[in-house]
């Protein structure tokens, strides 16, 4: 087929320099055991690479695009026909979003607010494809959703607390 799909991201992993997973988003159906094995193997492979090396590598039948930002590795697995440079851009855009949201984001932010990191990712990528190219729009949507969440968690009356209403 002479046309290629834009992007078929299979998964995205964020992990620390010690190999601890900080975020894992899977866009293909795999069992827990398979996911663990893939994560373990891939993390080892990437951690073994030297600093100045290429951001792209071939691993099993996938292309891996990764970049290190401070103490975190951002790693995406895409299919063979994809444009790797765009994937790098996607990673960078995600980091920019996190940075804007948390204000000078660092690994600790992602550890203690991991669910927020997922929400932001889900507002930026859908099914492995970029859904919104405007940073402003993504952040605006997240803001609105957060407001909605706060309203839902608003302090309840004493009666509600003890389960009488």
């Amino acid at each position: 087929m002479y046309m290629q799909s834009i992007h078929l991201m299979q998964f995205m992993l964020l992990f620390s320099r010690q190999g601890k997973l900080r975020l894992q988003k899977w866009y293909v159906p795999l069992s827990d055991k398979e996911r663990k094995k893939i994560s373990r193997d891939l993390v080892q492979t990437i951690l073994a690479r030297k600093p100045k090396m290429c951001s792209f590598l071939e691993w099993r039948d996938l292309k891996i695009v990764y970049k290190r930002y401070a103490s975190l590795y951002f790693c995406c697995a895409v299919e063979d026909q994809d444009n790797e440079l765009i994937t790098l851009e996607i990673i960078h855009r995600y980091v920019e979003l996190l940075d804007k949201y948390f204000g000078s984001v660092c690994e600790l932010d992602i550890i203690f607010n991991f669910e927020k990191a997922y929400f932001i990712l889900d507002e930026f990528l859908l099914g492995g494809e970029a859904q919104e190219t405007s940073k402003k729009n993504v952040l605006k949507a997240i803001e609105q959703a957060d407001l909605l969440q706060e309203e839902a968690e608003a302090p309840r009356s004493v009666l509600e607390e003890i389960g009488l209403t």
Binding site: M1, Y2, M3, Q4, S5, I6, H7, K20, L21, L23, Q24, K25, W26, P29, S31, D32, K50, K52, M53, C54, F56, E58, N83, E84, L85, I86, L88, E89, R93, I111, F112, N113, F114, E115, Y118, F119, D122, E123, L126, G127, E129, A130, Q131, E132, T133, S134, K135, K136, N137, A141, A145, D146, L148, Q149, E151, A152, E153, E160, E161, G163
Partner: protein
Amino acid sequence: MSPSVPLQEMIRAIRSARTQCEERGVIQRECAAIRAQFRQADNGGRSHNLAKLLYVHMLGYPAHFGQMECVRMIASPRYSEKRVGYLGAMMLLDEKQDASLLITNSIKNDLSHSNQYVQSLALCTLACMGSAEMCRDLAPEIDRLLRASNSYIKKKAALCAVHIVRKVHELGELFVPAARSLLSEKNHGVLHGAVVLIIELCEQNPETLERFRKTVPDLVQIMKGLVLSGYSPEHDVAGISDPFLQVSLDPWDQIAACVCDAVQVATNTDSTKTVGNAVLYETVLTVLDIKSESGLRVLAVNILGRFLLNNDRNIRYIAMTSLQKIVGTDHNAVQRHRGTIVDCLKDQDASVKRRALELSLALVSASNIRSMMKELLLFLSSCPPELRAHAASGIFNAAERYAPSQRWHIDTMLHVLITAGGDVRDETVPNLIQLITNASELHCYTVHKLYRALLLDISQQSLVQVACWCIGEYGDLLLKGDCQETEPVQVTEDDALDALETVLQSHMSSPATRGFALTATMKLSTRITDNVDRIRSIVSIYGSCIDVELQQRAVEYNALFRKYDHMRAAVLERMPVIEKNSPGHTNGESTGEAVKDVPTAKMKQGEPLLLQHEDRSDHPPGPAVDCLVSGLSVHAAGTAGGDLLDLLGGFEPAELSPGEPLSVTHTHTHTLV
């Protein structure tokens, strides 16, 4: 927004654990508390509990007891609980599990929720983990959303539809009309989603492609608008308007004129930033993918050539990847960049090196073989270990196809064996031997060179095997001393035997290598004059060797010395040229003479016995050695040497006339020389 305090406290507690054991303890306690909470009726902290569980899951601990809680949370009316519930579903459930079906109904309801953020949660989850059944159930809903909702939802629905189409191809038909109408939207997100959807639809079904062909001019308009318009701050990435949309539109420019336009603009695109390069790269990929005219292709290759000179390693890497794909079709265009590619062989990065190696091997031709081989051999001596086997076999193939002369060919193969002998494939040894036998005027040169290499290093098994074979076979030439091609070195019989004995006794030699050495020693017995006794003693020592293969050979050779001494000269005579059954084997000095079918006949004759031999040994010896051994065993079977036959076992005491092996060795003496 308020952080989830209970969650953060737990995370802190886990992180402060000093040992793995302590951490496990903390987690077990927390999980027990979470489980208890799940069992309780509705309480305020449900979302926090689930979030805690998800964190624990990310650390690698089991969390399947949270699956039903996710299902329950998704059905809750509270947004905060839905949000975490859907997140949990995406993390803990996958389509292979039955629990995932339970959320189908919730998703269906949420897709028509009044609040777009709830709708968004449902769409996201469906696109992430929707199984085929779920997709079938919910496709009509998605179609509805594609037509009648705000742009925020439309863009998500479009990508959700992409997932559905990938899972269930037949549903593609359903989305075609909606997809087409989406193209008239202004919102970039929606456009992007629409284009991705259309591409996916066309990929699944080529007929759909025809129907969308009419929309190409519209798409070109969109692209032109993007590219030529000024600065659009919100979509901009470093000054280049909406690269993502540009990239997604590229595969559509099928009409040559439009593509020309695009490339014109692309070449003016700022390529100093990665983003600009990404767009350029996509254009190049498109041009190379579609059947564009040659002018355009050359332009694309030139862009790739520019990439090759870029400082950024990533850019060089992808340039080589693309060049690899077209090196078959646009060979000449790629040849122009050969110099740069060869330079990349010296790059520090292993991925870049690998790409450069592949490309270099593809660019080798008859005209550049000498210079390329120099570079490749240089590369081999310093390349990373994981690439060596590949490099060695690539070099062999190239040498075989384009060798300008036999001597060059032999030199190259020897060089590879000396540098990377441990990484070459097994058939290299017989191949090289076959090559050497074919180059009869170089026998003297070859054996001298190999002898010298052997003196320097006996650890590379392939090299040692070939060297032993040659010394055995051409020992007389070695001892003669004078050779036009290299400086004469005086080699005495003792020297030669010393070399072979060192190999025999070294712990570095593999059993196969020792077999080669022993046979070579034996062959020397007819090529030397003074030290036959020494050979006899070596051979008899190995008659009690622990290695069964060696022992058997030694015993056979002993027999050759004792009872069949009159046969020895004939059996150990110089071997005829071995024929290789490979087509396309060119050699600079091929005489074109038809080589007689010698070894095949010999093989056929010796076949049953050969098989027996192979059964006994663990490693297949080269054809040369096989022939010799089979010759011996055919012979040994011919007479009534009762005691020996017991030892050798398995030989049929056939009524073969003693003369037979002789005729086999003599009749087809090759006359190429």
